[in-house]
Each structure stands twice: as structure tokens, then as C-alpha cells.
């Protein structure tokens, strides 16, 4: 079969009579099947729909996890942390290097990556945001954009621009078939992790002293400071939680889509920002709702309007514009009024 031109020669051969007969019988069989299996085709469609729903739920929970980080930082500082997507990327790479270079077991590597990313996020706040806290809001926003570019380009230099394959442990790669619906373990684990983290986060915010202080700072930084709340510490804690969530998101993302590249944080970062705004920026429940909604819209666009697939990202932005026009506070956001 290694002879040159063999295939080209075969191409000339017209289908034989036997082949044509086979195709005819096949066709007629197909017709029979379609006549007698109307109910079958309905259940098949339901199955396809459920499969799409499961796909969307998994993607949406991932968005939700990252959107929480945006919303928390905004809630406390009224700052959109544009570098959030890049922190997410750093989390993925650190986990990759832990497993790939230092040959750690995946769970140790993941824990270390989350810890280091948290330190990185807190350090970023100290270096790029804290010195500007009393400056006009636009300065700190520009600083955030600058930090984002800096991290992306540093990553290109340090990690190399060539995409890397993330090693997926067997536990996450396993496949399950339930009622004809195929789900990879990681797609089941993501919504679970998001739910557990959401519960922990809500507990911290509503049941602990730190959480109470966070809510106080979020309502009014100056008043909180006068009430002897250590604002710097609370901001650091917020960044720590946000960065840890971004790192977990980054690692889960890399487990689901095992391809790392320095610019991988940009698009998910953008979409999760949209998710946070749609849900009502500053509201944790809103971020989760927005993330799920975005995942659902994205995959359902492809599922039901396949010819518009090329525009699926545009739908996310259209959603953002629509929400900003008709309900600027987002679905679950409260109207807080502009602070002077």
C-alpha cells in the first residue's frame, strides 16, 4: 500500500453494481426504520438535548467559579480586576509545572499551585492597586489593564508561547455513560466543586467576623475604617479568595480542556466578567447565575442555531449590552448609587 499513486488509481474505479445494490438496500432499510421509529426519534432528540444541557452546565459552572472572583473584588473596591483572567492562567501553568517538572502527585501540585497563585494575587494588589487606592478610579483601572498585559507578556517569555498539553490524571479523564448521555468525570466534578466553594464562600461572607468586615468595607470603606476595620487586611483577604478561586478555575479548565497557552485567560476572563455584570456585579449569587446563563446561551446557540456558531461569542457581548441597557444593576444586583 506504500506504492505511489495507488489511491489516485482507485479513485477512477466507478462503484460496482454490487456496491450500488448495497446502497439501495441500505436506503430502503433506512426508510423503514424512520417510518417505524417515530417515538424512538423523539427520545433520541431528548437525549441530545440532555447531552447539550449537561455540556452547558459544566461549562457554566466553570464560568461561575471565575466570575465570583471578579464580583468579589468589585464588591469591595469597585475595581474591575482585568488581570483576573491572567491569574487564572497562572494557576493552570503552576499546576502544570508541579506535575510536569517537579513530578509531584497531582493533588499536591494543585494545592501548591492554588497557594502560590493566591500569594501572586495578593502581591499584585499590593504592587499595582494599593498605591493607587486614593487616586481617581480611572487610574487604578488603567493599572489593572497594564498589569494584565504585563502578566500575559511575561508568561509568553517565561512559559513559551507554544501551547502545552496539560497532564490529566485518570480520575478526571474517566468517562461515564448514564442513560445514553456521555459525561467525563471532570464535567461532573466542576459543578460539584463550584457548589461546595460557593457554600464555603457564602458561609465566610455571612457567618464569620472577616465576612462581616468584608461586607462593611463593601458598603463604605471610610466608615468601616472609622469603625476600626483593618481595610488593608480585608482587601488582601478578598484578593486571596478571588485568586484562589481563579487558580481552582484555571486548573479545572486545564483538566477539561488540556491545553495551556499564555493568552488562555483572555477570553474566559472576558466572558466571566460579562457573567459577573449580567448577574449583577458585586453579588456572589449573581455571578453564579450569570456564569450558568452564559454557558447555557453559548452552547444552546451552537446546538439550536448551528449556522450562527461563528457568532457565539458575539451573543455573550450582545447579552452584556442588553443587560447594561435594560437592567444596569444586573439580574441580582442592588442599586447602590454612585459614591462621591
Amino acid at each position: 500500500m506504500t506504492e505511489a499513486g495507488n489511491l489516485a488509481g482507485l479513485r477512477e474505479a466507478a462503484p460496482s453494481q454490487a456496491e450500488l445494490d448495497r446502497r439501495d438496500t441500505e436506503k430502503s432499510q433506512k426508510i423503514d426504520v424512520s417510518v417505524f421509529s417515530v417515538s424512538g426519534s423523539i427520545s433520541m432528540d431528548l437525549q441530545t438535548f440532555l447531552q447539550q444541557f449537561v455540556n452547558a452546565l459544566s461549562l457554566g459552572s466553570l464560568y461561575a467559579l471565575i466570575a465570583i472572583g471578579y464580583t468579589m473584588v468589585y464588591g469591595i473596591l469597585r475595581l474591575i480586576n482585568f488581570a483576573h483572567g491572567d491569574i487564572f492562567m497562572i494557576g493552570g501553568y503552576l499546576a502544570f509545572y508541579g506535575v510536569g517538572i517537579f513530578a509531584m502527585p497531582w493533588w499536591l501540585s494543585a494545592c501548591l499551585a492554588i497557594a502560590l497563585t493566591t500569594v501572586f494575587g495578593v502581591g499584585l494588589e499590593r504592587a499595582a492597586y494599593r498605591p493607587l487606592r486614593d487616586s481617581p478610579r480611572i487610574s487604578i483601572m488603567i493599572s489593572a489593564i497594564g498589569a494584565s498585559f504585563l502578566i500575559e507578556n511575561l508568561a509568553i517569555v517565561l512559559f513559551d508561547a507554544r501551547p502545552k498539553a496539560f497532564p490529566v490524571p485518570g480520575l478526571f479523564a474517566a468517562n461515564h455513560v448514564v442513560g445514553g448521555i456521555h459525561v467525563a468525570s471532570v464535567s461532573l466534578i466542576i459543578p460539584l466543586v463550584t457548589a461546595v466553594l460557593l457554600a464555603i464562600l457564602l458561609w465566610i461572607v455571612h457567618r464569620t467576623r472577616t465576612g462581616m468586615a468584608m461586607r462593611a468595607v463593601s458598603t463604605d470603606i471610610e466608615a468601616a475604617r472609622l469603625m476600626a476595620v483593618d481595610v488593608d487586611r480585608i482587601v488582601s483577604v478578598t484578593f486571596a479568595i478571588g485568586s484562589a478561586l481563579a487558580a481552582i478555575g484555571g486548573i479545572l479548565f486545564a483538566l477539561k480542556y488540556p491545553r495551556l497557552e499564555p493568552l488562555m485567560g483572555i477570553m474566559p476572563g472576558m466572558k466571566c466578567f460579562i457573567a459577573a455584570v449580567v448577574g449583577g456585579i458585586g453579588s456572589i449569587g449573581g455571578a453564579v447565575l450569570g456564569g450558568l446563563l452564559l454557558g447555557l446561551i453559548e452552547l444552546m446557540t451552537i446546538a439550536f442555531l448551528p449556522e450562527l456558531t461563528g457568532y457565539k461569542d458575539a451573543f455573550a457581548f450582545i447579552l452584556l449590552i442588553a443587560v447594561l441597557l435594560f437592567k444596569p444593576t444586573g439580574l441580582l444586583g442592588r442599586n447602590q448609587g454612585e459614591k462621591v
Binding site: N6, N55, Y257, P258, R259
Partner: protein, 381 residues
């Protein structure tokens, strides 16, 4: 204290501009070959492969007509707008004598009009879309074209895989993918005689990572084979997610899959996929090929991809043209390039035809044991 970083950055900016002002003057007599490739972004690895081959050729053959050949490498960032900027840098600021590249037909097409306007000949290394050279007297290429590649894929699906229903997955923002898919479909419909033999067509965008919705749609139609030309990492994720969704149909791809990253990201899921490409590293086809394989393995301590081989060939073709023209003037290099006949490249003999394209054979490979393995060669008719 706060002025220190500012001062430091101002100093860096000044010293950088000094460096760039001085450097070209020192090598005023060198012949400059612009290397127009994506080094970052979605196509970064592909561009890097071509640059590896070009650098190797430059190292082995650093001189022509007694002058040193200097490579001017610019990054077109896998982006059409950035590609136009990079092309302008090569033609306006660097004033190169000829250009090599780019990986990605879209990127080459973005640079094409700029090279033509500056009257500088460009040689595409692996851009396979017909539009790259059509109507542009200054663009050449050393690889085969997609109409041929599409025929090779469709014939393999019909004859070897006995496929009668196929599904197509296109990277909609990539001219290469859309074009190649069209040529595949045209040929496949001709072979089956049934326009409905293409049961589903799905699209995605460059950089996407979730393809489950498209694949779930395709699964309903139970195709015998899936043709999914597109970028290597997205494609690896597509095959992976397809297998996770329980799709068992064989996958076919084009030359862009011929990358180490495709195997790494795809892992066990890409076993058995079949691709059409330019070159196989397990069977040297001529002396240049043998020399290239040896030099590449010595230099980089890894196996070369087809793109490195074509990058190597592109450089040699330009050098050969300069030698025959006995001049490094862009206009004369262009004339000599049109006269290239039976040039022995590492990825096969190159004859530039009247359309400035190379007539070349295609190689079919499959993935076996985590490696690309030679399947067969298909010659153009």
C-alpha cells in the same frame, strides 16, 4: 522614589531605540530575508516549526554570492491585522530582499498585497489556500494546494474507509479550513454521487475550547467519517471531546495537524486519525531529505515536522534563485523564482508552475503508538 521606575523605563526605551538604529547599519551589505511567521498566539507552534527549519538552512548555508544572508524574523501574532503590520515592518523599515512565510493562509493573504506593493518576492512555506498566490505576481509557494489536498482526503475516506456519510467540522475564522473543507466536500459528493452524503457541517472559532455542542449535533447523524481541517490544538481537543461523547467514527485532518502538540494534547484519543501532509520523517525521499533529517536531529535533538522541512526548502529555493539571478535585487529574485525547475528539496522536488505554485505529492500519515506513521504517498495527476 516613585520617579525611579519611570526613569528606568525611559532609559530602556532610549537604549532600545539606539540599538535598533545602529544594528542595520552595521550589516548594510548583508542580504536580508524576512521571516514572516506567527510566533505567538494560536498558531505560535506552527510558526516556530517553520522558523526552526529556516534557521537550520541559514546555519548550513549562511552565504550567497559572497554576501552574508541575514534573517529578519517578525512575529505576525496569528492575527490578520498584526500580520499586515509585520509585513509593513519588513518592507518599509527592514527593506528585505525577499520574504519567507507565513504559516496560515489567512496570515499570508493579509501580508500578500503589502509585499506586492513593495515589489518584494514572498515564498509561502506551508500556506495551502489557492488565494495566497492567485492574482499576486509576487507570492510563490513550496507546498501543494488545498484543491489537491481536499481530493486526497475525500478519496481516502471513500475508498479506504468506505465512508458514505461524512460530517465536516470547520474552523470558520480560518480561510485554510473553510477552503479545504469545501474542496473535500466537492470531491466526496462527486465520488458518492449524492449531495446528501455530507450529513452535517459544524463550525467553530480559532481559540475555542469547547466543542461538545457541535459534536453532540454531529453524533445524531452517525457519520462514517469526520473531516475536521483546522488548527492543531483545537483539533486535538475536538477529537478528544468526540471520543468522550462516544463518537467512534474515524477522524481525517489536513497538514495543520502534523504537529507534536496535536499528539500531546490529543493523547490516546487521536490514535488512528489520518492526515494528509507534505513530508514524513521516517522515510527520506532524496539526498537533501537525508541531509536535512540528520542536520535537524543533530541541531534540535528531536524529530522534524513537515513545516521545518518546508521552511528549510523555502530558504534554499530563495538562495537558489539569488544564485541564478546573480543578484539580490527583489525584481531579479522574482524572475529567477519563476524559473525554478526540479529543485531537490527535503520534502520532495519543487517545480514552480505558471501560477507560482509548486507541483508536489501528498503524504498520508496516521497516528500509531503516540507517533505519526507513514501510510502512503499520493501524486498529483
Amino acid at each position: 522614589m516613585k520617579t525611579l521606575p519611570l526613569l528606568a523605563s525611559a532609559f530602556t526605551a532610549v537604549s532600545l531605540s539606539l540599538v535598533s538604529a545602529v544594528a542595520p547599519a552595521a550589516d548594510a551589505k548583508a542580504i536580508k530575508i524576512g521571516v514572516f511567521e506567527p510566533l505567538t498566539g494560536a498558531n505560535g507552534a506552527g510558526g516556530a516549526e517553520e522558523v526552526d527549519g529556516i534557521k537550520l538552512a541559514n546555519k548550513l548555508y549562511p552565504e550567497v554570492l559572497g554576501a552574508k544572508v541575514e534573517l529578519v524574523i517578525v512575529d505576525n501574532k496569528s492575527d490578520k491585522v498584526e500580520a499586515a503590520n509585520a509585513a509593513t515592518v519588513l518592507t518599509q523599515r527592514e527593506k528585505v530582499n525577499a520574504v519567507l512565510g507565513s504559516w496560515g493562509s489567512s496570515l499570508s493573504m493579509a501580508g500578500g498585497p503589502i509585499f506586492a506593493e513593495a515589489r518584494i518576492p514572498a515564498v509561502a512555506v506551508s500556506a495551502t489556500n489557492p488565494m495566497v498566490t492567485r492574482g499576486n505576481d509576487w507570492y510563490f509557494r513550496v507546498c501543494f494546494l488545498d484543491p489537491f489536498q481536499g481530493t486526497v482526503g475525500a478519496t481516502y475516506a471513500f475508498n479506504a474507509l468506505k465512508a458514505r456519510k461524512v460530517a465536516i467540522i470547520r474552523e470558520i475564522s480560518n480561510d485554510y479550513s473553510v477552503g479545504l473543507a469545501k474542496f473535500f466536500v466537492d470531491e466526496f459528493v462527486k465520488l458518492t454521487g449524492d449531495p446528501k452524503s455530507v450529513v452535517a457541517t459544524s463550525d467553530y472559532n480559532t481559540g475555542d475550547q469547547d466543542f461538545t455542542a457541535q459534536l453532540t449535533n454531529i453524533k445524531k447523524f452517525e457519520p462514517d467519517a469526520i473531516f475536521a481541517p483546522g488548527n492543531y490544538t483545537e483539533s486535538a481537543l475536538i477529537v478528544k471531546q468526540a471520543r468522550a461523547l462516544g463518537i467512534k467514527a474515524p477522524f481525517l485532518g489536513g497538514d495543520t495537524w502534523d504537529m507534536e502538540e496535536f499528539l500531546q494534547v490529543g493523547g490516546a484519543a487521536v490514535e488512528g486519525v489520518v492526515i494528509s501532509t507534505f513530508f514524513a520523517n521516517d522515510v527520506p525521499i532524496n539526498k537533501t531529505s537525508e541531509a536535512f533529517l540528520k542536520a535537524y536531529r543533530d541541531e534540535y535533538r528531536k524529530e522534524p515536522s513537515a513545516f521545518s522541512a518546508l521552511g528549510y526548502d523555502g530558504y534554499l529555493v530563495i538562495l537558489d534563485a539569488i544564485r541564478r539571478a546573480n543578484s539580490a535585487e527583489p525584481q531579479k529574485i522574482r524572475e529567477a523564482l519563476t524559473q525554478t525547475r526540479d529543485f531537490e528539496g527535503s520534502a520532495g522536488s519543487i517545480t514552480i508552475n505558471a501560477e507560482r505554485n509548486a507541483d508536489k505529492a501528498a503524504v498520508l500519515k496516521t497516528v500509531k503508538g503516540g507517533k505519526f506513521v507513514f501510510l502512503t504517498t499520493v501524486k498529483p495527476q
